[in-house]
Amino acid sequence: MSIKETKEFRKQVVEDVLDIYPEKAKKNRTKHIAVKDDDNCAGCAVKSNAKTVPGVMTARGCAYAGAKGVVWGPVKDIVHISHGPVGCGFYSWGNRRNLADGEIGVDNFVPFLFTSDFQESDIIYGGDKKLETIIREVVDLFPNAKGVSVLSECPVGLIGDDIESVARRMSKEFEIPVIPVRCEGFRGISQSLGHHIANDAIRDHLLGTGPGREVGPYDIGIIGDYNIGGDAWVSKKLLEECGLNVVNIWTGDSTMEMLQNGHLVKLNLIHCTRSMNYIVKHMEETYGTPWLEFNFFGPTKIKESLLKIAAEFDNTIMEKTLKVIEKYEGQMAKVIESYKTRLAGKTVMLYIGGLRPRHMVGSYEDLGMEVIGTGYEFGHKEDYEVTIPDLKDGTLIYDDVTAYELEEFVKKMKPDLVGSGIKEKYVFEKMGLPFRQMHSWDYSGPYQGYEGFPIFAKDMDMAINSPTWKIIKAPWTK
């Protein structure tokens, strides 16, 4: 197929797939899907960050998931209370791979679920008194906890509890930060507002309240890396090899002090702009701390990012950075060479959150693979604006894609690999299609940096070329 034919075909696919919807839903969904067309890019833009159509199978979560699951949960020396009924906390317990180093129960509370386990009486009489008791019990049982965060679930906001005043009172009494986070699940339209609310809570309760520190010439922070499978550790190591000094990570393996001192660096590097652009902009405006977006997925983007970062510092850093790039580029070329015959030319469709629908594209392209479809679960306009120029002509772009749409797009476009989340994984595997979870790295990783890329390449090869796909059909079936 020529590129023109491909684009026509894909546009037709979209039309056919959306045909099943009732009129109102169809009108809505049409705006969220586009085929990138370099000849006429007026039509490339997709609508985003809008309410999900009710009744479709969305992959989206809620504000609580964004605030607790993403931003606050990985902060290891703070006790995070899932305030409300037991479910939300239970489902977000231990299933996001934000690794943290520390003594569990002493200075690392990441593997815990702390919940106020609301009962009907709490709904009727309010939960503020219970919250106060709970905070007292937390301080008593975990005296090393540096602070307490209170992450509200739906009922808390609906019954009009005043968690802010409880937090203020407890904070004063125990002389530790007690941070109310109003991330009830009904707020906003996806995880995204939860990220924003969580950022604001850091801004209002922690940032700038720390012990302070002298800022060295090479001190930097990594913002928006949640250390999935050890990604942040790999990035830190790489940056330090270039002569920089990573003093903060937000929030993978991070401490409360890192959040308090986030502005006390020469430069903040932001990984997941979607979830933490708010706070880097605030630090720039308020403290003059500059920030820079980077992408450590795949050697091409790593090199580009390292050079961009080094350019912000003196020659010493640039020289070291060039040496680091030289050192690893050869190794990476060998990795690419070794998988070339097995992966080059293979096609991928992605559907992920945060930054990955664009950040991962380069690492596939480094392997000679082609991303033919991508989309964000909870992206905003600015995410698509920076994504679309990076995509090849004819790429299918889908925002908040429904399970039905993604299944149909995949059936018709027949990629060699689908990369998405746990809710999608087994649907495609049942279709006999190679799949990798691209939120959790399918319990592998890290995928970032020069250390992660060979693991990424190995995993993609393993998924696509697993012999298990070839035995799905029984020899006697027609």
Binding site: P54, G55, M57, Y91, P155
Partner: protein, 475 residues
């Protein structure tokens, strides 16, 4: 209030102390690492067991995303469910528009034969009149007038996943089952598995019922849904109890409930319709399965087939072969009430010593039943039931009153690690091992599987930890 921070700095040694245990058990409101999920998850699991049924959460979409991912991680299977994505404006104006648009779109996309509507917190706190909304949806033509819709009220702030299962099961019967009529009574035994996350268990029940020549309906039956074959195509509705059999449920010859605490209201409802009803403990262990066999034999009026007696004999043979690896060993267990009753009963049969039994979603009837079970055996005398406690309590118990093995779901891995004992994974969710849900833990087959897991885990530990001098070929 003394600020502990000023006087005691926490250390792992302190966390492991008697003093800490006392403090830990003195807490009144804070819950740490509970072994329970919330009601709508159970409702969803129940709904997956009805053929061509679409589970539909009336509430925030985040809840549904959580249920789906939690169930998918355990079963390693797709879990189809939708929500009507209620947001802040629904909090102000009610969830009517969302529900109507939601069922309209869901029906257009997924063409279910029945929709299982269950609620999450938001709709319940607001007090939505959901029945009226469903009526309106039909009136407006969003869904066909004759499309059955079962409604379960399942707020997360009441009960747990097991009561949500119960509520949804009753809702199916209320919405779908026609009234019992003497002339329409069918010949079938309706077998209700209860909240069971082992499709292997459900298949085992069906296998045995077939051997017993009992006409039966397993209600609900999600075994083909959460353990679907890979045939190269994805099926949205790969199985479940046929709708006609759900409709005919109250005309059952009789009902057999295989769990007590996950079916309390559903069994009461069936009983109130004058259907002969029996509830027996989850058939784990020889005695549990014997009771199941006897109940089914009573139903069929036939002798127990020799094949079953042979099976039982093989299981008992496995028990005597392996008794030395389990007898006198000390166990801690946590999980759902019915599962705990079964597992404790099995351990007592093997001469194992249950020591700590933690049940976060305990009830008074369960407490009484468990205490009676423990009192019935000399091997139950060391055991203490900790009702409504959590896994942080359990951790204190494990480090101060050591045992040889922990039995529970994957959440127990931290406590087991801290206590330096093996965890045998039984329960829900199991997210860090493969295939365990495919093998039954019920029935005589389950007895053999349990022995295999428990005894071999001990033996693996012995081999891995023994010095060369005592590293032996035979164990």
């Amino acid at each position: 209030m003394i600020n502990m921070k000023a006087t005691t700095k926490a250390t792992t040694a302190w966390l492991n102390s008697e003093e800490y245990k006392e403090k830990n058990f003195a807490r009144e409101k804070l819950v740490i690492n509970p072994a329970k999920a919330c009601q709508p998850l159970g409702a969803l699991l129940c709904a997956l067991g009805i053929e061509n049924c679409l589970p539909f959460t009336h509430g925030s979409q985040g809840c549904t995303a959580y249920f789906r991912s939690t169930l998918s991680r355990h079963f390693r299977e797709p879990v189809a469910a939708v929500s009507d994505s209620m947001t802040e404006d629904s909090a102000v104006f009610g969830g009517q528009t969302n529900l109507i648009e939601g069922v309209r779109n869901a029906y257009a996309l997924y063409k279910p034969d029945v929709i299982a509507v269950f609620t999450s917190c938001m709709a319940e706190v607001m007090g939505d009149d959901i029945n009226a909304y469903i009526g309106l949806a039909k009136h407006e033509g969003a869904i066909p007038e004759d499309l059955p819709v079962a409604l379960g009220n399942t707020p997360s702030f009441k009960g747990s996943h097991i009561t949500g299962y119960d509520t949804m099961l009753k809702a199916f019967l209320v919405a779908l089952a026609t009234e019992r009529q003497a002339e329409k009574i069918n010949d079938r035994l309706y077998v209700v598995p209860g909240f069971d996350t082992y499709p292997g268990n459900l298949r085992e029940y069906k296998r045995v019922l077939k051997i017993m020549k009992a006409p039966f309906t397993l209600l609900p039956d999600n075994s083909d849904v959460v353990d679907a074959p890979n045939l190269g195509t994805y099926e949205l509705y790969p199985g479940g109890t046929p709708l006609t059999e759900v409709k005919d449920a109250l005309n059952a010859k009789s009902f057999l409930f295989l769990q007590s605490y996950t079916t309390m209201t559903a069994s009461k409802y069936v009983d109130s319709k004058e259907v002969p009803t029996e509830t027996i403990p989850m058939p784990i262990g020889i005695k549990g399965m014997d009771q199941f066999i006897q109940s089914v034999a009573k139903f069929t009026g036939l002798d127990v087939p020799d094949e079953i007696t042979q099976e039982r004999g093989r299981a008992v043979d496995a028990m005597t072969d392996a008794h030395q690896y389990i007898h006198g060993k000390r166990f801690s267990l946590f999980g759902d009430p019915d599962l705990l009753m079964g597992l404790v009963s099995f351990l007592l049969e093997m001469g194992g010593l249950p020591v700590h039994i933690v049940c976060t979603n305990s009830t008074t009837p369960f407490k009484k039943a468990m205490e009676a079970l423990l009192a019935s055996s000399s091997y139950g005398q060391e055991a203490t039931l900790y009702p409504n406690k959590d896994l942080w309590h359990l951790r204190s118990l494990l480090v101060t009153e050591p045992v040889d093995m922990l039995i529970g779901d994957s959440h127990g891995k931290w406590a087991a690690r801290d206590a330096n004992i093996p965890l045998v994974r039984i329960g829900f969710p199991i997210t860090d091992r493969v295939n365990l849900h495919r093998s039954p833990i019920v029935g005589y087959t389950g007895v053999i599987n349990l022995i295999t897991m428990i005894a071999n885990t001990f033996l693996d530990d012995v081999d891995r930890n023994s010095p060369e001098a005592t590293f032996e070929m035979m164990r």
